[in-house]
């Protein structure tokens, strides 16, 4: 049984002088300004910031899907490529990116194949159950709702038991109700395994609800304007959102977000 296969210990992630500049027809665009960041092993960090601020680029840099202009990334002392080669990380993209010709089961099993891990029908079935897609294992993505596709994509991320989980708006493009449910249920899956998790979100409440730490980014180029530690007890239930501590944290994050906007000097035109 898959449970017998122990996942790798979660790694610490460090970024040293990490930056990314895109060179296009319109000249150079600095997406991520040189950053020094450390993400502790086993911690869940939310990356919050305005649209297009470079959060996704940062995630792709950490995964090694994008080459940095300067600096480097180390995941537990290894390069991202070395970690990807042994399937030590998994990325959940904004778009669920399921293969339309494969069933949910086939899409989840695909990750095992790509990770060069033995086919494990039982583990695949269990994860599909855990994300609440029982009875849909044989369905193709076209037959699923947006939220169900997102959950299938998350099952695909988890099935290889990665030590590092990088999620880019994992609950984007999902209706509010499903979103709240996912935000409550899914973190338990990776918390139980002690995975190092980085996730990008637009939702301040979601960030505070899920994360141990919230990093607030300025508009492009991405730069950290606030680093908030979320010391709320776990497991967190929905009613924790009503507590004063929770409200104080969300207000702090929101204030930092607005400050970032103000600093970027891009006020909305009056009328």
């Amino acid at each position: 049984m898959a449970a017998e296969r122990h996942p790798a210990a979660p790694p610490e992630v460090t970024c040293r002088g990490l930056s990314r500049t895109f060179y296009g027809r319109g000249g150079a665009v600095e997406a991520v300004r040189p950053l020094d960041l450390t993400f502790a092993a086993g911690e869940t960090t939310a990356l919050v910031g305005p649209s297009g601020c470079g959060k996704s680029t940062l995630l792709r840099l950490i995964a090694g899907l994008e080459a940095p202009t300067t600096g480097r990334v180390e995941i537990g002392g290894e390069t991202p490529l070395a970690v990807r080669r042994r399937a030590g990380l998994a990325v959940g993209f904004q778009d669920p990116s399921l293969l339309p010709w494969r069933t949910v089961r086939g899409n989840v099993a695909l990750a095992l194949r790509l990770a060069r891990q033995p086919a494990d029908e039982e583990a695949v079935a269990r994860l599909i159950g855990l994300v609440g897609l029982d009875g849909f294992a044989g369905s193709r993505p076209a037959a699923l709702s947006g939220g169900m596709r997102q959950r299938a994509a998350i099952a695909r991320c988890l099935v290889t038991r990665p030590g590092l989980l990088l999620l880019d708006e994992p609950f984007g493009a999902v209706d509010e109700l499903t979103r709240q449910r996912l935000a409550q249920d899914l973190p338990r899956l990776w918390e139980a395994r002690g995975t190092t998790t980085l996730f990008v979100t637009h939702s301040v409440t979601e960030a505070v609800m899920i994360a141990d730490r919230v990093l607030v980014f300025s508009p492009r180029p991405a730069d950290v304007v606030e680093d908030v530690t979320v010391d709320l007890p776990r497991p967190r239930r929905a009613d924790i959102a009503l507590s004063d501590a929770f409200r104080a944290l969300t207000e702090r994050v929101s204030a930092a977000l607005s400050a970032g906007f103000a600093a970027a000097e891009r006020p909305l035109a009056a009328e």
């Binding site: 899907l65 080459a67 293969l99 076209a142 695909r156 290889t160």
Partner: protein
């Protein structure tokens, strides 16, 4: 990493095309020198010398062909737009119009050419008509897809202002269809030149096609190669020119046209099958009525203009009907025996080479522009060359059919290989999977819809290529039979051949389209939904 590769590809695109074209010319020159004395292959330098020595002759012929092609281009495309408009404004007629359009597209040019020659007499009538016939379908299909390509919400915006179908058409559909129309017109430009040249093969006074026939009969190797080069060069230029104009008009990237011309949906199961048969019967009645009606309308001479009942008598009830059938179907079998291997070889090579080439991005950068350029070469007009090179046996015809099918398939597959949905390639990269794994698990399945679209459009092309070679060179098969019947004024056989060949082409086309729909339902569910 993919981004970096793509950036490199685009940056080297222009350089790649220059390199690729230089490579083609170098290979051509070298093989011509190696084969010198075999009287098969004229080198680029010989071609240039020939063109320089005969500027007046070539210039006049080129001007004549271009004028016919341009007239056919305009008429055919206007017809395509009119048909597409009718379909959009009266959706209920769609399946009927699409079926009739397909049938006309499947008419064998080899037979319609001589028939038109009798109808029009000397002059440019047949050339212009064949050019128009060669272009209208390849514009009609993408245009129809384009007119439907606008997202549903755009229509809601129009309706929320209380406007109707006409505003919808002008404000939304026309704008959404423009890139598709441009893509169709681009393919139509070289096709018009092909149609005009095939028309000239049927006995015109001037034009590149006339000189080609003359050069081939006179075993004039440099002449044959020069004419083919000139036709190819003009076609590539027309393709590039229309593409350039299109880019000035619309900013959108050229779309990949996947959807089958007839939208799916409607009843399913036995009801749909029954509906299908009823519809087929309706089309058949309509075709027979149009066939007879047009002949009556123009008061055509019954000796020459055979009606459906004449064809029936010729093939079924006449005393020598069995003999007629044997001749016709034997000739058709001969044609199919070379068409099908060429068709499958062209498809297989196109898909395999496209798939292999994406494993080596630098080669793709060189091959893509060359393939796009060569796709616009009207291969049929190079038939004499292939016969010169490979002889009059089956191999020559099979090769020509394969070459004719190869380029569009190859280009469609290369586009299709880039169609992997969303960030799927990123998913593969996040496990550092190999290029081969990415190809086999993501890119090849994503390519299937484009491949089947190419396979469908290749059916009439393959039959056209085979019949033209049979007519011009090999003297066997239904192509030769039609040419012979035309010259012997055996119009019973000619019209019967037209009916049988068109029906065969339509049936094969419909078969591939059916397969395509099944593939689309699984592999491109988002386009299908």
């Amino acid at each position: 990493m993919i981004d970096a590769t793509l950036a490199r590809l685009t940056a080297s695109g222009r350089l790649g095309s220059v390199n690729g074209i230089l490579l083609v010319f170098a290979g051509w020159e070298l093989s011509a020198r190696a084969l010198s004395g075999a009287f098969l292959l004229a080198s680029p330098t010989e071609v240039l010398a020939y063109l320089a020595q005969n500027p007046g002759l070539m210039g006049r012929a080129l001007a004549a062909t271009l004028a016919e092609a341009a007239a056919g281009f305009v008429i055919g495309n206007l017809a395509a737009m009119a048909l597409a408009l009718i379909v959009i404004l009266t959706p209920r007629l769609e399946r009927t119009i699409a079926a009739l359009a397909l049938l006309v597209f499947c008419l064998p040019l080899v037979a319609t050419g001589p028939i038109l020659r009798v109808l029009f007499g000397p002059g440019v009538g047949p050339q212009v008509t064949l050019a128009a016939l060669a272009v209208y379908y390849t514009t009609f299909v993408p245009l129809l897809v384009g007119l439907r390509a606008a997202p549903a919400t755009w229509f809601d915006v129009i309706r929320s202002y209380g406007r109707g179908r006409w505003t919808e058409l002008v404000q939304v559909r026309a704008a959404a269809a423009l890139p598709y129309l441009v893509a169709g017109l681009q393919i139509a430009a070289p096709a018009a030149i092909l149609g005009a040249m095939v028309g000239e093969f049927t006995g015109a006074e001037r034009g590149l096609g006339v000189l080609t026939i003359r050069a081939m009969r006179g075993l004039d190797v440099p002449g044959t190669w020069s004419l083919a080069t000139l036709a190819a060069g003009v076609s590539v230029a027309a393709y590039a020119g229309v593409g350039w104009i299109g880019r000035q008009l619309s900013s959108g990237p050229p779309p990949v046209i996947l959807a089958a011309p007839v939208s799916p949906g409607g009843a399913v199961g036995p009801r749909r099958v029954a509906g299908g048969f009823a519809h087929l019967a309706l089309i058949a009645v309509l075709v027979l009525a149009l066939w007879t009606g047009l002949m009556d309308l123009f008061g055509l001479n019954p000796f020459f203009a055979k009606r459906p009942d004449d064809v029936w008598r010729f093939l079924v009830t006449a005393p020598q009907a069995a003999e007629h059938r044997a001749t016709l179907f034997w000739a058709l079998a001969e044609t199919m025996a070379v068409t099908l291997p060429g068709y499958f070889a062209g498809l297989a090579l196109g898909a395999l080479i496209a798939a292999a080439i994406v494993l080596v991005p630098p080669i793709a950068a060189v091959a893509m522009p060359v393939a796009v350029a060569l796709r616009s070469v009207p291969i049929v007009t190079t038939a004499p060359l292939i016969i010169l090179l490979l002889g009059r046996g089956a191999l020559g015809t099979i090769t020509l059919v394969a070459v004719m099918i190869f380029f569009p398939t190859f280009v469609a597959c290369l586009h299709g290989l880039r169609q992997a949905p969303g960030q799927v390639i990123d998913v593969f990269d996040s496990y550092a999977s190999s290029r081969l794994q990415r190809l086999m698990l993501a890119q090849v399945p994503a390519m299937l819809p484009a491949f089947f679209a190419a396979a469908r459009m290749a059916v009439p092309a393959a039959i056209l290529a085979a019949t033209v070679v049979e007519w011009l060179a090999t003297g066997i098969g239904v192509g030769s039979l039609m040419a012979l019947s035309a010259s012997l004024s055996d119009y019973g056989m000619l019209w019967s051949a037209v009916a049988v060949v068109s029906l065969t082409a339509c049936t094969l086309y419909a078969g591939v389209a059916r397969l395509e729909r099944a593939v689309l339902a699984v592999y491109a569910s988002e386009q299908f939904a």
